[in-house]
Symmetry: C2
Subunit: 350 residues, 2 copies
């Protein structure tokens, strides 16, 4: 067994604190990765605090993991010791249903998607995430990270990146299309970068005039302020796709009015409360309100390769385990541009 050091939440009300545990010795298909960087995702906080009512403790959060291969199993072919490697939101699935066979393991039809943390493996052991100095993962669920990307700034690609890239690709964002992005945080700023790089005319929606400049630097062709009533009227019926990255409850009616016939607004923000959709707001031009969740392994690798080619990473602020509580507080007030990344060198309980 591999002695591992990390930070864990012991209950819904206790802040993450130093925690020592063991990882399995690598099996024949496993890759043992020394973790260098781990992004902080809003869902780390939701789950540590049991806000989605499905938490398992002790919980070592973290699913935006970039590291260096330390050891490989005898059957591993994709990696060798010393390679840069990454682990994202999921580490196993049934591997046998239509979704898994299609490379969409995140939608495993047997409900057997195994998430990187706050989950149990097929033997019933709790899985621990990337707020720790190492991880052991089947190579099928390990990703190659392009070497031209800064590994710290690339960490958020594993969740914020794929979560926005996947729906943009699925709903055909690209040249000739007008795409809107709601929200300019960890998810939104990645959606903006991807939509721009995919060639779509990209529009950022924001309530704040102070964000116009940043949005344009990140790739917005246009920024629409959404504060005045009826702000949407001049833009009605002109959008091919809207990606909603907001995690709080909000009024979707004006955004649905922006869509063309047969177009979709997709949420990736996962607000806790249901969203209110007037039937007329979709019915009058056969519009859809959809959702999307991260991406499968095949598409995540495609996204990382796309990032390597277009030199896309997240805009990040580095932080440390000593400042973890403060970083979480700042995530909750959206006081970060645009994603925190933990440097594993700051883990003090080794």
């Amino acid at each position: 067994m591999i002695k591992t050091h990390g930070y864990a939440a012991q209950s819904a009300t206790s802040a993450p604190a130093p925690f020592d545990f063991e990882r399995r010795d690598p099996g024949s298909n496993d890759v043992h990765i020394a973790i260098d960087f781990c992004g902080i995702c809003h869902s780390d906080i939701h789950q540590a605090r049991n806000e989605w009512k499905s938490s398992i403790y002790p919980m070592v959060p973290g699913h935006e993991i970039v590291g260096t291969v330390k050891q490989i199993g005898s059957a591993v072919t994709k990696f060798k010791v010393g390679d840069r490697a990454a682990v994202g939101c999921l580490i196993d699935s049934c591997r046998n249903c239509d979704s898994c066979n299609a490379g969409e393991e995140q939608y495993c039809e047997n409900g057997a998607t195994i998430w990187t943390y706050n989950s149990k493996d097929k033997k019933g052991n709790i899985n621990f995430g990337g707020y720790s100095d190492s991880i052991v993962t089947d190579e099928r669920f390990v990703l190659k990270m392009p070497l031209n990307l800064d590994p710290a700034a690339a960490a958020p690609l594993l969740c914020a990146g794929i979560t926005t890239y996947s729906p943009l690709k699925h709903w055909n964002a690209g040249p000739g299309k007008k795409v809107g992005i709601i929200g300019l945080g960890g998810l939104g700023h990645m959606g903006l970068k991807f939509s721009h790089a995919l060639g779509a005319h990209t529009v950022q929606f924001t309530t704040s005039a102070s964000k116009i400049e940043s949005a344009k630097k990140l790739g917005a062709d246009e920024v629409i302020l959404t504060r005045e009533s009826n702000w949407h009227v001049p833009h009605a019926g002109t959008f091919d796709f809207i990606l909603d990255c907001v995690s709080a409850k909000h009024d979707l009616t004006p955004y649905l009015a922006l869509l063309k016939r047969d177009s979709t607004l997709c949420t990736v923000g996962l607000p806790e409360e249901p969203l209110a959709i007037p039937a007329f707001s979709v019915g009058l031009a056969r519009k859809s309100f959809a959702g999307s969740s991260v991406g499968g392994l095949k598409e995540t690798q495609e996204m990382l390769d796309f990032c390597g080619k277009h030199n896309i990473v997240a805009d990040i602020e580095m932080t440390s385990f000593a400042k973890l509580d403060e970083a979480w507080d700042r995530v909750l007030t959206a006081d970060v541009k645009y994603r925190f990344v933990l440097d594993l060198k700051t883990l003090n309980n080794k």
Copy 2:
């Protein structure tokens, strides 16, 4: 001008009563139709009572119109005097946008869809619907009605028919697909007939065991009772498409759980209150909640031809103008199997 007799609501609070008015003399492209039958649609009541806050009075409701051609304009090519003809929910549009050019005039992008009643024509005159003994309509918006169909029972095809046929076709209901129908009223019973005739494995959802037999006679391969909690669990992830024909607010979460990855639940019931959609209920398998509104002229004709070929009409109860108030009351309590049709011979104010 053509003297016309009908029934009109004079305000949101007055019941429809005898009303005499004039139709225009047919222009070169117009068809003058003597109306034989007009279906009663729930939306007639919503609009007469100003429940959608957009009513124009006096209002002659009715958009499920079947009649006999009495006179044609000089340029009319599709119809001759004596033909059976039909008019549905819309009688004009901009005729020039992408939607109109695609034959989807109901989604006219210039907002210029002109509905059969509770609307104004391009000159600003109020349009009057089918609770009347004649109508004058541009032949582009007049439909041919297969002669093998009972003309009274065919009237509801013009709204209830196309409203359910269009989304079933759009989302590919057919052989190898499992399709669910929520609600067994005017819309639902047509959805059931169409889904069955299109070759889909068709499942009716109902809260009432007493409806099982009727649903099976109408074409259900399977009926699922939705009364017990967790009724949906055994059927989760198995549906390719669900058509929601319920006009009252209801909980969609269990139905969304029934959908396969990348599948859609489409509402055509147009509840007044917004529907509550939890982001997780669509996000966890990239599902969509969509809406659809009637259908364009091309597809409405295709639907009527399909009905002719498969001998599909609505199940109706004939009624008269003398019993109109009672019929409306019974529509509101769903006390009709499954659609009322007015016989224009019962119009007494001629």
